[in-house]
C-alpha cells in the first residue's frame, strides 16, 4: 500500500513538472530584430574601385581626392535595451569549432551587412550597443573558427596577435605610397591602407607612459522610435556608416597617413568611430 502511494505521488509530481515547463515556454515569447548597415562616403553611397585605380569619386573636407577598394569591420557584443528594462544580449561564443556573436561586415559581401538577432524577448526596444573590433576576452580564447579564422579571411595581425577591427583601403591622389612589388603581391602606387587594431587594455603604471592602445570601441545608438519585437513582426534598424566622418574627424592627410598597420597610428581613427555610426531610421 505504501509503495502504491509513493508511486502515485511520484507520477503527480512528474506530471506537474512537465506541465510547468510547457507553460514556461509559452510565456517566453521571442522575435527577431535585424540590423542593416549601409556604407556612405558623405552623401554618396559607397562603391568599391579596383585596387590601384586612379579614378577618384570621393573627396575629403580638405579636398583630397580618393577612392575605396576595400572596406569593412567587425561588429561584436551586441546588446538591445528597452525603455522598461527590456534587455537582450547576443550570445558570444569563441571556439575552434564555432563562433557566435561576431560579424565581419564587408562592403563587397552584401549579405554580411545584415545582422539578424533571433530569440529576442518580445517587448519594446529603443537602444542598441555594440563593439567595433574584437576585444581581449575573445582574443584570449586562442585560435577560433568562423569569421575569426585567418585562413577563412579573418583580419588578423600575426606579429601583434589580435584582430583588425576596422579597415579602409583605396587610392588617393596625394598618397605618398610608392609602388612595391613582392613575391606574388604588389602595393600599388598612391594606394593607402588604414588598418585599425589593438585590444590590449592595460592600465598605465605610475611614472610610465601609456604603452598599449585599445582601439576596440563601443557604439551606442538610440532609435528614432521604440521598436516592438514579437514573433509575427519583422522590425529592423537601418544604420548608416559615413566613412567621410571618419577621415575628416581624424583629419586624415593621405600624403602622410597612407599606411597604418599598428595600434597607435590607428588611434585617431578609432577615437572618431562613435560618430561614424548613426541610426538613419527604423522599420516596424
Amino acid at each position: 500500500m505504501k509503495l502504491y502511494n509513493l508511486l502515485t505521488a511520484l507520477i503527480i509530481v512528474l506530471a506537474y513538472t512537465s506541465c510547468d515547463s510547457d507553460d514556461q515556454s509559452e510565456t517566453e515569447a521571442v522575435g527577431t530584430l535585424q540590423l542593416k548597415f549601409d556604407h556612405f562616403v558623405g552623401t554618396q553611397k559607397m562603391e568599391l574601385s579596383e585596387p590601384g585605380s586612379i579614378e577618384f569619386q570621393y573627396e575629403t573636407a580638405d579636398g583630397e581626392a580618393f577612392n575605396i577598394s576595400k572596406f569593412g569591420y567587425y561588429v561584436s557584443e551586441i546588446i538591445l535595451e528597452g525603455p522598461t528594462g527590456e534587455y537582450y544580449e547576443d550570445e558570444q561564443l569563441v571556439s575552434a569549432l564555432e563562433v557566435k556573436g561576431f560579424y565581419h561586415v564587408l562592403q563587397d559581401e552584401p549579405s554580411s551587412r545584415f545582422i539578424t538577432l533571433s530569440d529576442v524577448p518580445a517587448g519594446r526596444y529603443n537602444r542598441v550597443t555594440f563593439k567595433i573590433g574584437v576585444s581581449e576576452s575573445a582574443v584570449q580564447e586562442g585560435a577560433a573558427g568562423g569569421v575569426l579564422d585567418p585562413a577563412e579571411g579573418a583580419w588578423f595581425w600575426n606579429w601583434n596577435a589580435g584582430y583588425i577591427g576596422f579597415a579602409i583601403e583605396g587610392t588617393a591622389q596625394n598618397s605618398g605610397q610608392e609602388l612595391v612589388e613582392g613575391d606574388g603581391w604588389t602595393i600599388p602606387e598612391k594606394s593607402f591602407a588604414l588598418h585599425i587594431g589593438g585590444w590590449k587594455d592595460i592600465e598605465v603604471a605610475e611614472g610610465e607612459n601609456q604603452k598599449f592602445v585599445n582601439n576596440v570601441k563601443t557604439i551606442a545608438l538610440q532609435f528614432d522610435s521604440d521598436l516592438r519585437v514579437e514573433s509575427a513582426l519583422d522590425p529592423n534598424v537601418h544604420i548608416v556608416v559615413d566613412l567621410l566622418k571618419m577621415l575628416d574627424g581624424a583629419n586624415i592627410n593621405f600624403a602622410n597617413s597612407y599606411s597604418i598597420h599598428a595600434p597607435k597610428a590607428g588611434q585617431p581613427l578609432a577615437e572618431v568611430l562613435p560618430e561614424v555610426f548613426i541610426v538613419d531610421h527604423t522599420h516596424q
Binding site: S95, V139, G142, A143, D149, W159, A161, K211, A262
Partner: protein, 347 residues
C-alpha cells in the same frame, strides 16, 4: 581435456582471476593515457593556458606531433617546425643555426628560442607580441624568413590529404580541417613539453644530495647576481629589458609591440632551463658560450637610453664566481626531457 580441467577450478578463483585481469588492463590504460595528461610540477606556477578550451587527448597530441614534424606547413615543403626546434637542444635551434634558416635558406632575424614550459608563459616571442600559444605557429608559417606559406594554403594541403582528414576526424570529430583545429593540435603537442626534471629540481624538492657543494655555491651566487631578472622556477620574471648588447637597435624588440621609445632594444628575459644546451645566446645569437654571456654582464655592458637600470654598472663577477654559476646552470639540463620518446618523430 583443458576444458575439463577448467571446470574443476573453483568458481570464486575464476572470478578473482578475471577481476585481476580487468584491473591490470585498467591500470595499463590509465598509465598509457597519463602520458597525455598535463601535470603541473608542484613547484611551478599555475599554467596560463586554458586547458578547458583545448583538452589534451592522445589523438590531438599525436596529430600535433605529426604537424610539428611535417614540412607540408612550408611553402615549398622544405621546412618544418622541427627544422628550428630540435628536441636534443630542448627544442631550440641547432647551434650551427644562430639565426633560424627558412625556405630558400633565408636567414631569420632572431635566434629560435627553446619550446619548454610554454603552458606557463604569459607571452611569446622575444618581443612578447603574441599572448596566446595557439597563435604562435602562425608567425612561423607565414613569416617570409621562415616557412613563407599562407595559413589558408596549409589548410588546403591538409584537406587534400586523406591521412590528415582521418587524423583530424579522430582528434576533433570533424570532416573538414580548419586552421584553429590545426593550431589547437600543435598547442596540445607543445603544452606537454614540460621540463622540470633536473638535479636542480631534485634539490629544490628536498633532495639535498642532488647538487654538489660547488653547484650549491653556484646556485647561491646565481640567485644573488642574476636572480632579480631570472627569478622563479622558470628563471624569468617575464619582463622585457635592454641588457646592454649594443647601442644601435636595428631590431627594436619590445618597442615593436608597445610602440614606446622607452622599450627600444628591450627583449624578453628568457627562462634558463636547459640553458647549457641552447647556445648561442641572446635574441641576436651574439654569444656562443655561457662564459661569453657572463663576461658580457661583467665587463661589456653597452650604454644606451633604455639600458636596464640594474645593469648600469654591469654585474661584477670574479672568474671563480663565473665558473661556479656555470656549474650551477649545467644542473638545469633535463636529460629526461631531451630524450622523452613522446616528443620523438617515431611512428
Amino acid at each position: 581435456m583443458n576444458a575439463m580441467h577448467a571446470t574443476r577450478l573453483p568458481i570464486w578463483w575464476v572470478c578473482c582471476l578475471l577481476l585481476l585481469m580487468v584491473a591490470c588492463e585498467e591500470a595499463d590504460e590509465e598509465a598509457k593515457s597519463n602520458n597525455y595528461k598535463f601535470v603541473k610540477p608542484r613547484h611551478f606556477p599555475a599554467p596560463t593556458y586554458n586547458f578547458d578550451k583545448n583538452p589534451i587527448t592522445k589523438e590531438g597530441f599525436e596529430l600535433g606531433k605529426k604537424l610539428f614534424f611535417d614540412p607540408l606547413l612550408s611553402k615549398d615543403n622544405s621546412v618544418s617546425c622541427n627544422s628550428c626546434h630540435i628536441q636534443s637542444t630542448a627544442f631550440a635551434d641547432a647551434q650551427q643555426h644562430p639565426l633560424s634558416i627558412g625556405v630558400d635558406n633565408r636567414v631569420g632575424l632572431r635566434n629560435a628560442p627553446p619550446l619548454t614550459n610554454l603552458a606557463f608563459m604569459p607571452e611569446f616571442f622575444w618581443d612578447g607580441g603574441v599572448t596566446h600559444l595557439d597563435f604562435v605557429p602562425i608567425n612561423a608559417i607565414e613569416s617570409p624568413f621562415e616557412m613563407d606559406e599562407k595559413l589558408a594554403s596549409v589548410v588546403e594541403k591538409l584537406n587534400a590529404n586523406d591521412e590528415y582528414r582521418q587524423l583530424f576526424q579522430m582528434a576533433f570529430s570533424v570532416d573538414e580541417i580548419t586552421s584553429p583545429l590545426m593550431l589547437k593540435a600543435l598547442s596540445q603537442f607543445m603544452l606537454l613539453m614540460v621540463s622540470a626534471n633536473t638535479p636542480y629540481d631534485d634539490y629544490i624538492l628536498g633532495d639535498v644530495e642532488a647538487l654538489s657543494k660547488e653547484e650549491v655555491e653556484g646556485l647561491s651566487l646565481f640567485r644573488q647576481k642574476c636572480g632579480d631578472c631570472h627569478s622563479g622556477e622558470l628563471f624569468t620574471d617575464f619582463t622585457y629589458r635592454n641588457n646592454g648588447l649594443n647601442t644601435d637597435f636595428k631590431d627594436q624588440g619590445r618597442a615593436l609591440i608597445t610602440e614606446s621609445e622607452n622599450d627600444v632594444g628591450k627583449f624578453r628575459v628568457p627562462g634558463l632551463r636547459n640553458i647549457a644546451r641552447t647556445a648561442p645566446y641572446m635574441h641576436n645569437a651574439m654569444f656562443t658560450s655561457l662564459e661569453q654571456v657572463l663576461d658580457h654582464y661583467d665587463n661589456s655592458i653597452q650604454h644606451s637610453p633604455t639600458l636596464d637600470p640594474t645593469l648600469e654598472k654591469g654585474i661584477s663577477l670574479t672568474e671563480n664566481e663565473k665558473s661556479k654559476i656555470i656549474t650551477f646552470l649545467n644542473t638545469l639540463t633535463d636529460h629526461d626531457f631531451r630524450s622523452d620518446r613522446r616528443f620523438m618523430n617515431q611512428q
